[in-house]
């Protein structure tokens, strides 16, 4: 098997583990959009854990580049217009659906929630259709 796929499996397992640490430790859903939405407004002292998570996330990414130097993310279509439109769709969409990939696909499906399974099937399908349509513009 391609070594990249093995890394992907290990990475995925670690993502599952981080979600379990979060759920088992503090009893919450490790959903990035939900945690982020919670700091956009009044934040009480009891909710500071949200900041800690949102700081930990980029710290983990930075830590990786310290341990494994030379990582470059690949993005062959870096259009700012796309970045703005996609950002709006992701921001509004995850707010409406109350969750994104981490909250619905990893945590929700992990709890065998039908709601999250449906959300995941919908966003994977619409993502596939969107990518298919972009072929006609490039």
């Amino acid at each position: 098997m391609n070594p990249l796929y093995i890394l992907a499996l290990i990475g995925g397992a670690l993502i599952g583990l981080s979600a379990l640490l979060f759920a088992g430790g503090i009893g919450r859903v490790m959903g990035v959009s939900g945690i982020l939405k919670g700091v956009l407004g009044k934040v009480t002292k009891g909710e500071y854990w949200r900041y800690y998570f949102l700081i930990g996330l980029p710290l983990g990414v930075a830590l990786y580049s310290q341990v494994v130097p030379g990582y470059h993310m690949a993005n062959t279509n870096p259009s700012y217009i796309i970045a703005i439109i996609a950002g709006i769709l992701v921001g509004v969409g995850t707010s409406m659906a109350n969750g994104c990939t981490s909250g619905h696909a990893v945590c929700g499906i992990g709890r065998l929630s039908l709601r999250s399974l449906i959300a995941t099937l919908v966003f994977v399908s619409s993502g596939m259709i969107a990518v298919y349509i972009t072929h006609f513009f490039s």
Binding site: L9, G16, G25, G27, L40, M73, V90, C100, S126
Partner: protein
Amino acid sequence: MSKTTNLISLVAGILFGFALVLSDMTSPDRVRGFLDITGKWDPTLLFVMMGAVTVSVIGHFLLSKKETPHFAEKWHFPWVKKGIIDNKLIVGSALFGIGWGIGGLCPGPAIGSIVFLDPYILVFTVSMIVSMLFYKKFTTK
């Protein structure tokens, strides 16, 4: 109590961020490649999901036997199997999927990848946060 909560949250964030780069989910090309089923399909994201969901399902099954979480008085999420399936869930997920597909980023990698200081990622992340803010403003009274 809140110190422990903050620490767990920080460690989970670090582990999550580290795992995202390890599996290259911080590359928009990988995400677009996974969704590109009629083109050059890239199964990497599928392997990430298989790893994550397997661990998550087993772990949550074990957690569901416990009365409370380790460091909190109660579960802050429902253990119900069904939940509310309404138009908001469907339309919201559909919109999110389109943005995910064309942008190649979802909220986790968008926040985590801030450290790359890549202008595309920063524009996406700001746009995402601003639209969340607007959505919250116009929907909560």
